[in-house]
């Protein structure tokens, strides 16, 4: 094992292998295996039975699958714009480096480092219909009590609010880093031209931040399509599936009903949807995602 600088250094394989073996075993193989399982009927006990496209046909006709995919679109319509716009505004604020901006940065990011169980339970308590803090203050504004997590009309919104609070930190940090990279002389030039701060924001900051906006939207969209843990903790999909997401339904089918073949088929559909959305989104914003 002498260190050569030639074209092919075998120690490279050894160094990479420690990562690559678990990567192949626990990421790539399950993915391929999952596609196979989707074409079978397989419970926890017994052998797989090839059923062809039956699982996919069933999934496309299953009203609960349709419901879960409809819900994930609704989640995305609330969470993605909510996170992107708020994170952008918060980052602009912290970027000013006014007094106490470091403290504000900490406050905006901290929810991102806690677990879904924390987010879920704290927000179940905040959104409590009778004694929740939110309804209390809405009541002071004359708004009647909202059954945030117990009514089919509101449960998805309730979970989405908690998700925005949880997810925002990542987008916020990415925006903040990007703002620091905008060349100072662009602002100086705009200021000499007499551009107001709002015009500078529109003509300098936003165009410079286009790639990172695209990246944030893509990352948040993918994260939202995989939404599960906060749904599980806050509503468990209830009432009547009004807040259930695709991953939540996959969980139910696999763990509660033990129908692993069917669960795998729904996973494959979700995967295809995520790939489709990512491609469409990239074509629309036509910016390469970094990383």
């Amino acid at each position: 094992m002498t260190g050569g600088r030639g074209r092919n250094d075998p120690s490279g394989y050894l160094l990479v292998a420690f990562f690559t073996v678990p990567f192949l075993l626990f990421t790539v193989a399950p993915l391929l295996f999952g596609v196979y399982i989707a074409f079978t009927e397989w419970g926890i006990i017994g052998a797989p039975r090839w059923v062809g496209l039956a699982n996919f046909r069933e999934a496309l006709a299953d009203p609960w699958v349709a419901n879960a995919f409809r819900n994930v679109v609704r989640y995305a319509l609330i969470i993605v714009p909510g996170v992107t716009v708020l994170a952008f505004l918060f980052a602009l604020y912290v970027h000013q480096r006014w007094p106490l901006s470091t403290l504000a940065r900490t406050l905006f990011f901290t929810p991102n480092v806690v677990s879904a169980t924390v987010i879920g339970l704290v927000w179940v308590w905040i959104l409590d219909t009778q004694f929740g803090v939110l309804n209390h203050y809405l009541g002071l504004l004359g708004i009647p009590r909202i059954p945030w997590l117990t009514s089919p009309d509101w449960s998805l919104t309730g979970v989405a609010l908690a998700s925005i609070w949880w997810d925002l930190g990542l987008a916020f940090v990415l925006f903040l880093a990007a703002l620091q990279d905008v060349p100072e002389d662009l602002y100086d030039a705009a200021a000499i031209d007499g551009a107001s701060r709002l015009r500078q924001l529109w003509h300098v900051t936003l165009p410079q931040l286009r790639p990172v906006i695209s990246m944030v939207v893509t990352l948040q969209l993918i994260a939202t399509m995989r939404i599960f843990s906060q749904v599980y903790v806050m509503t468990n999909g209830a009432p009547v599936g009004s807040s259930a997401s695709p991953v939540h339904y996959i969980y139910q089918v696999s763990i509660v009903q033990y129908r692993l073949g069917y669960a795998a088929a729904i996973s494959v559909l979700l995967f295809l949807l995520i790939v489709l959305v990512t491609i469409l989104q990239r074509l629309l914003l036509r910016e390469r995602v970094r990383g």
Partner: protein, 293 residues
């Protein structure tokens, strides 16, 4: 006169870059930041209240009297110490392996030439787009059939290959000064020895960033531990405490929100503490990694 006003608005407050005209905006943003932190205040405050003072007509932000009964109850009547131990073992071992393997791979991909290197890195990057949920059902089946359900091995193994770790180390080693390696090569040291003796000890910054970020991810991991543990004593802390959710278990109906808030406060402590102590590493790591692991 108008000029005088404008000049006043543009005057900076001493020692800051805040102008007088900006004060309202500064205060409004500060208000939002405080609002953003309030759920944590409410969580801790509720956890310190006696059961009878939790559901009050008016919102009481601070407890009338501070008691620790809820914490004593959660620590003595629930297996929370066991869950915390499980979480520490799982997140600790997984993070250590993940960072070490990530550093090795990152170094090789940045500094060594071998056939298939770039294709391999492209494969790693492409895999970021794959939602783990697609792999979850087959993994579950495989681990159950292998008789590994509810074991540390099952909880740890699927989390040790994290592309984020590779990426962050590769970025670091791409700009690593070659002279440091060349001297050792002349002395006849092998590449693997160079990695362990020279490169790794100098990679403190990416190592800290990767460790705090990946530890937090592992500590908070939810779906996989939920699926693979059927045994109460093998649950991790987030999954065990999730039974306090009214839709999942009956603890909160029985005990009230004060005990539940004590449980989640304990669950917050490691990741929040780690973040507050190593904030700079954490944030720099995330923005330079720029991929959601």
């Amino acid at each position: 006169m108008a000029e005088g006003w404008r000049a006043l608005f543009r005057r900076r407050l001493p020692g800051t870059n805040l102008t007088i005209g900006d004060v309202p905006l500064w205060a409004a943003g500060g208000f939002v930041a405080i609002l953003w932190g309030l759920p944590f205040v409410w969580m801790v405050s509720t956890s310190l209240k006696p059961a009878g003072q939790v559901m009050t007509r008016d919102v009481e932000w601070l407890p009338r009297e501070v008691i620790f009964d809820n914490y004593i109850k959660i620590l003595t009547q629930y297996p929370i110490a066991r869950w915390a131990f499980n979480s520490l073992v799982v997140a600790g071992v997984a993070t250590a392996l993940c960072v070490l393997f990530g550093a090795m791979a990152g170094y090789a991909l940045a500094r060594l030439r071998f056939r298939g290197r770039d294709a391999l890195f492209a494969l790693f990057l492409a895999s970021i787009m794959i939602p783990i949920e697609v792999a979850v059902v087959p993994l579950l089946l495989a681990f159950i059939k292998a008789g590994l359900a509810s074991t540390y091995a099952a909880l740890i193994l699927p989390t040790i290959a994290n592309v984020f770790a590779v990426y962050i180390f590769r970025q670091f080693f791409l700009t690593f000064p070659a002279e440091l390696e060349e001297a050792a090569i002349i002395d006849g040291a092998g590449r693997i020895a160079i990695f362990f003796r020279i490169a790794l000890p100098l990679a403190r910054a990416p190592a800290i960033a990767a460790t705090v970020i990946i530890f937090t991810l592992n500590w908070n991991n939810f779906l996989w531990p939920l699926l693979i543990t059927f045994d109460e004593s093998m649950k991790t802390m987030p999954v065990g405490i999730a039974a306090f959710a009214p839709v999942v278990g009956t603890h909160t109906q029985l005990e009230g929100f004060a005990v539940a808030m004590a449980a989640v406060t304990l669950l917050c402590i490691p990741s929040v503490l780690l973040f507050l102590l190593l904030q700079k590493h954490f944030l720099r790591g995330i923005s330079s990694g720029a991929i959601k692991a």
